[in-house]
């Protein structure tokens, strides 16, 4: 089958057969399809759309383009969480230790940040020495010893996805639900899981900004997970403002360690709540809890009794990280940085927050990547001090920027200040989780 024939079929709106999709993915892997042929087909897929059958075939072909991990020698249910990404979204570092402490093994393969969203690997690398490039054997050993491990996508896991994703980023073909589903699920299914909880963000800082798109994505993800034999559930969670207090890399690890240590604070209450909720649902899916209510209590107890923190500490040690940051998380807040208060632009109530603008500002001062090969400054970040519904005035800071230079501050200050939309009437807060998608109807 010539690439041109397959491309022409999708160009004209046809439905590709399983064999055609396999030929495409095989061609990506053995390099018989040129990059420009891959990107032409992907663009045709984005515009023409993909059927459920096509989406499943791509997921299956990408999954089987690489290694599928086998943790059958670990005598525990295997579970993981995946989030579609947002600003200040740091729950992985809290959930993995909680769930591991409850007897579920977590083989977590994470990504790096790109654009306004952060990535778990970048956050972990803010811990000096922490190794996110585990071999399959090391990954296995760390999970066996402390119940969870966090690593990057190796060349062996879904290599076709890795290649296609890089091209999609460069060719404006990211926004396409079936391709997003195939990309996420081909990696997650390669982890050999029993249970998977998905956190689909919605709102101004999310990849999917409308509830309709987020719900459609969540349903497609759950359906695919179940079809491939993984107990899967999704929540739609709020990303209309940064999650928790900190946005950045080291500062987000700081917030997680505080939560793991049981430190309570209003400014990160939502991070804790979402982490507990996702952990609880994963525990039920993994079969170690009877009900979400019971699981919530167990998850919370692992934070208060210190066992989740102990798991985290074990993991940091096993993955080569400096334990000093566990013992003294203040080390993660770089006191050499400039701290610049971001003032509200008026008096009133915060009615909306341009979360994307906040994520981009942190990215632009080095906290994230504009291009995939950019270096990340792990120390810089932002403290979000005002939340939707809060009373705000020009006299008080809406946030605090941690930056390397005052030039950086000058560059992003108005972008940050203008991110806060101020109105005259107080607003009711939206719940952190708006919807749970357990068993969508196949379409």
């Amino acid at each position: 089958m010539r690439p041109q024939e397959i491309i022409a079929k999708k160009r004209d709106g046809g439905e590709l057969s399983d064999a055609e999709i396999r030929a495409f993915i095989d061609g990506v892997c053995d390099k018989s399809w040129a990059d420009y042929q891959i990107s032409a087909l992907i663009m045709a897929m984005v515009i023409r759309g993909l059927s459920l059958a096509e989406q499943d075939a791509i997921t299956d072909a990408m999954l089987n383009s690489g290694e599928v991990l086998d943790f059958s020698s670990i005598n525990k249910p295997k579970g993981d969480k995946h989030s579609t990404g947002g600003v200040g979204d740091k729950t992985s570092l809290v959930i993995a230790p909680i769930v591991a402490a409850c007897g579920v093994a977590v083989p977590m393969i994470s990504g790096r940040g790109l654009g306004h969203t952060g990535g778990t690997l970048d956050k972990l690398e803010a811990i000096p020495g922490y190794n996110v490039k585990l071999t399959t054997e090391e990954f296995h050993n760390v999970i066996e010893k402390c119940g969870f491990a966090m690593t990057g996508q190796t060349a062996e896991i879904a290599p076709a996805d890795k290649k296609i994703y890089a091209l999609r980023d460069a060719t404006a073909t990211v926004p396409c639900i079936p391709l997003i589903v195939a990309s996420i699920m081909s990696k997650k299914l390669a982890e050999g899981l029993d249970a998977l909880i998905l956190d689909v963000k919605t709102g101004s800082g999310a990849f999917m900004q409308t509830l309709e798109d987020s719900t459609a994505l969540a349903e497609a993800l759950v359906l695919t997970g179940r079809k491939f034999g993984v107990r899967t559930e999704a929540v739609i969670s709020d990303m209309s403002q940064p999650l928790g207090r900190y946005v950045g890399n080291a500062v987000e690890v700081y917030e997680c360690i505080q939560i793991l240590k049981g430190e309570s604070d209003d400014s990160w209450a939502d991070t804790k709540e979402l982490s507990v909720e996702l952990s609880a649902r994963l525990l039920v899916l993994a079969g170690v809890s009877e009900s979400v209510e019971a699981a919530r209590q167990v998850a919370t107890s692992k934070l208060t009794d210190g066992t989740a923190f102990e798991k985290f500490r074990e993991n940091v040690e096993l993955q080569g990280g400096d334990l000093a940051v566990c013992d003294d998380p203040e080390l993660l807040i770089d006191r050499d940085l400039f701290r610049v208060e971001i003032k509200a632009t008026g008096d009133g109530f915060v009615t909306a927050i341009d979360t994307l603008a906040i994520g981009n500002a942190v990215c632009e001062i080095g906290g994230g990547r504009i291009r995939a090969d950019d270096k990340v400054d792990h120390a810089v970040g932002y403290e979000s001090l005002s939340r939707i519904g809060d009373k705000i005035s020009k006299a008080e800071p809406a946030g605090l920027l941690h930056c390397r230079s005052l030039e950086q501050a000058a560059f992003v200050e108005s972008q940050l200040a203008n991110a806060y939309v101020i109105g005259n009437t107080p607003q009711t807060r939206t719940p952190i989780i708006s919807q749970v998608i357990s068993s969508p109807k196949p379409k």
Copy 2:
């Protein structure tokens, strides 16, 4: 402007501004756009379509991506013919000498064959020694001396088109009228013409198989030519069967020399008729004839009095070709080849011919290219002996294959035999030219 922003706009169905299209074409030329970004945008253009303004902007940007030739020192009107390509379509070799003999300079930049359609350059190279890679200076000198020259697209002429066309061929993005218009016209406008006659083919051997598509393409081409200040006209000509008797390279040159020498034969009467008609219309457009009727008479006289042939002979000599083939065209028919009769599959009347299948068969035995870097066998070819409307029987050959081996014959024989659709009732012949498009209304 990042490539992704421009790609995303067209992906979502937006209309690109002149500046965005210039940024794209500049990026193609300076290589700041990767091939996979170019092909993603092209696919979005093919599916979403392009407005007239976008089509003009691409034509203009591609034209100005390279050299625009200047023949102002040649004190004659400059004219050319362009055909959208077909099977046995060889009129360039007849038209250029006729028109040159009438005092119009013809700076003809031609292409090579790809797939079922032949290319003028390949045909010319069947003449031993003939040089189709003239420098701009040589091109100029040959035109000055004999009134016409035929050469390939240099790296300096519309380089953006050259790059984009190669990608379109590999990514199934060729069928798109605005991109076809931009590709053809950016090259033709670079010739610095006063007049242009376009031969848009329609039927089973044409790139555009329906009259509707062919007419739409013809109108768009004429409109663009006029907009850019060139007197332009198009004819829609029949490609529901091979043009003339021969399909191949050397054998087509043979047919042209016979016509130029004034040799009459029913089997190539249509080649002669179409060549005279296109020449006549070009002479009127170029301002050297008052009416098409008068121009037809002048053009015909150049064939009968030998002056067109003399022009051709001069040109062959100037471009380094072996004059022996002019003196004895039989040299172009390779007597070492196998000749295999293709029998009709039944008795009756030829009601239709799968011209594409005939073009592909000649291509497959080496007469054309399947891939752009294939070598061409100039000697092989096909003689089309039955035409639509002819009475046919199993006893007589429908055609004659000139091939290197009997394995080649075995490979394409049934494809050729089945190309002739046989019915019970005679069919009226369609005229060679069905429509002339002189001044379409802008849409």
